[in-house]
C-alpha cells in the first residue's frame, strides 16, 4: 500500500488568473516582493500494491488520463509506503531498494521525487 500525493500545477506559460489575483492581493496585506504565484491542486490517494514501480506506473496513467490535463497542466507525484513496508522504509531518507522484493521507493525530498532510474520520470514535468 502506498500513500500517493499528486501535485497538479498550471503549465509554464499557461495563464493562471487565480495566481495573478493572489499576487495582486498580497501587497495589500503588506507582503511585498512576492511574485510568480501559481495555484495548483494536491490530490492524495492510497493505492494497493507492493512494487513502487508498478504503482508509480499506474499513478502516472491516472494522471495522464484523468487527474491532470496535459494540455494545460503539469503533474508530479510522490509515493510513500504504508503498511507492512512502512517500517522498513522509515529508516530510509532517500531511494531505497528493498532486499526481499524489488521495491523502489522515491523519497520525498526537494525536487522531483522520482530518481533518474524511473522509466517515466520524463513525463512528470512536460506531461508527455
Amino acid at each position: 500500500m502506498f500513500k500517493v500525493k499528486v501535485y497538479v500545477t498550471p503549465k509554464a506559460g499557461i495563464s493562471d488568473p487565480q495566481g495573478a489575483t493572489i499576487e495582486r492581493a498580497l501587497p495589500a496585506l503588506g507582503f511585498d516582493g512576492v511574485q510568480s504565484i501559481r495555484v495548483g491542486r494536491l490530490i492524495t490517494l492510497e493505492v494497493d500494491g507492493a512494487d513502487a514501480v508498478l504503482v508509480g506506473k499506474d499513478v502516472d496513467a491516472m494522471c495522464r488520463q484523468l487527474l491532470a490535463n496535459p494540455i494545460i497542466e503539469d503533474y508530479r507525484f510522490e509515493l510513500e509506503p504504508t503498511g507492512p513496508f512502512a517500517e522498513a522504509m522509515a529508516a530510509s531518507e532517500d531511494v531505497v531498494v528493498s532486499t526481499d522484493t524489488p521495491l523502489h521507493v522515491a523519497a520525498e525530498h526537494a525536487g522531483s521525487p522520482w530518481t533518474a532510474a524511473d522509466p517515466f520520470a520524463h513525463r512528470q514535468e512536460d506531461g508527455e
Binding site: 495563464s15 487565480q18 484523468l66 490535463n69 494545460i72
Partner: protein
C-alpha cells in the same frame, strides 16, 4: 414526448431530423436545447441518458450546457468517461454530427475530440451576457446559413471558457481553419476588449479536422425565439437541418427564416 424504444422504431416512425441531446448528471441546458429544436418543424429532439449505449438513431448529437458531474476536478473531465461518450466517439468517427455547447464544448476538449482545453475566465468572474460573435467559416454543416464575417449575438454563460491550446494545436487550428466563431464587438472587430474570458485569439467555437464536430462556449439554443431576446441561434440549427436533409436528397429553402416564430 414518448421516448422511442429503439433507433429503428424511431426512424420508421419519423422522417424528421433527429437530435439526440445527451443528459449527464448536472447538465442543465438539455431542456433548453430540446425546446429550441421544438420550434423547428423539421426537427425531432429527444434526450439521451449518459449511461445509454444507444444514440437512438440520432442524426445530430448535442452535448448541452451545464455542470456535468459538478464540474469536479475540471469541467467536462468526468463526463468524458460516461458510457455514452464511447458511442459519441464512434459516431464522430463515422462522420456523425456533434454539437457541444458550453459544458458540451468543455467535454469535447477533455475527450480530445476537439483541440485545446479550458481555463477559468480571465478575471475569475462567471460571465452571463449577450455576446457578439464573428462567423469565420460557413463551409461547415453548422454554419451554411451564415455569412463569412457576419456578426451574430449569442449569450455566453460560463466560468471556465478561456479556451487555450498548445503551440502545435494552435498551428493545426490555423492551418486547417478550425475556428468557426470568434468573440468580437458589434462591428465585428476581434479585440481584446471584446473578448469576455481571455480565450486565445478570441476563439469562441471550433470544429474538428473532419468538420463534423463543433464546440462553442456561447448558447445558440437560447436565441431561437424573438420573445427570448434573439433569433441568431436559428441559423446554426437550421444549417444542421439543411445538411441532414440534403444528405437524404431533400433540398429545402436555406433562407434563415424558413420557420414559424413560436411565441
Amino acid at each position: 414526448m414518448t421516448p422511442p424504444t429503439s433507433g429503428e422504431e424511431r426512424a420508421a416512425r419519423d422522417r424528421r431530423v433527429r437530435f439526440g441531446v445527451v443528459v449527464f448528471p448536472g447538465s442543465n441546458c438539455e431542456y433548453d436545447a430540446v425546446h429550441a429544436l421544438g420550434t423547428f418543424p423539421e426537427a425531432d429532439a429527444f434526450l439521451l441518458w449518459h449511461k445509454d449505449h444507444d444514440l437512438l438513431g440520432a442524426d445530430v448529437v448535442v452535448l448541452p450546457g451545464g455542470f456535468s458531474y459538478g464540474d469536479y476536478l475540471r469541467t467536462g473531465a468526468i463526463a468524458r468517461f460516461s458510457p455514452v461518450m464511447q458511442e459519441v466517439a464512434t459516431f464522430i468517427e463515422s462522420g456523425g454530427l456533434v454539437l457541444g455547447i458550453c459544458n458540451g464544448f468543455q467535454i469535447l476538449t477533455e475527450a480530445h475530440l476537439l483541440h485545446g482545453a479550458m481555463l477559468r475566465n480571465r478575471g475569475l468572474k462567471f460571465i452571463c451576457h449577450p455576446q457578439y460573435l464573428r462567423v469565420e467559416r460557413t463551409d461547415t454543416p453548422f454554419t451554411s446559413q451564415l455569412q463569412i464575417g457576419q456578426v451574430i449575438q449569442v449569450p455566453v454563460n460560463h466560468n471556465e471558457g478561456a479556451w487555450t491550446a498548445g503551440a502545435e494545436s494552435l498551428q493545426t487550428i490555423e492551418d486547417e481553419r478550425l475556428v468557426v466563431f470568434r468573440y468580437c464587438d458589434a462591428e465585428g472587430q476581434v479585440t481584446d476588449a471584446a473578448n469576455p474570458n481571455g480565450a486565445v485569439d478570441g476563439v469562441a467555437g471550433i470544429v474538428n479536422e473532419g468538420g463534423n464536430v463543433l464546440g462553442m462556449m456561447p448558447h445558440p439554443e437560447r436565441v431561437c425565439e424573438g420573445i427570448l431576446g434573439g433569433t441568431d441561434g436559428r441559423a446554426l440549427f437550421g444549417s444542421l437541418i439543411d445538411h441532414v436533409l440534403r444528405g437524404r436528397g431533400i433540398h429545402r429553402s436555406t433562407a434563415p427564416c424558413s420557420w414559424q416564430a413560436v411565441t
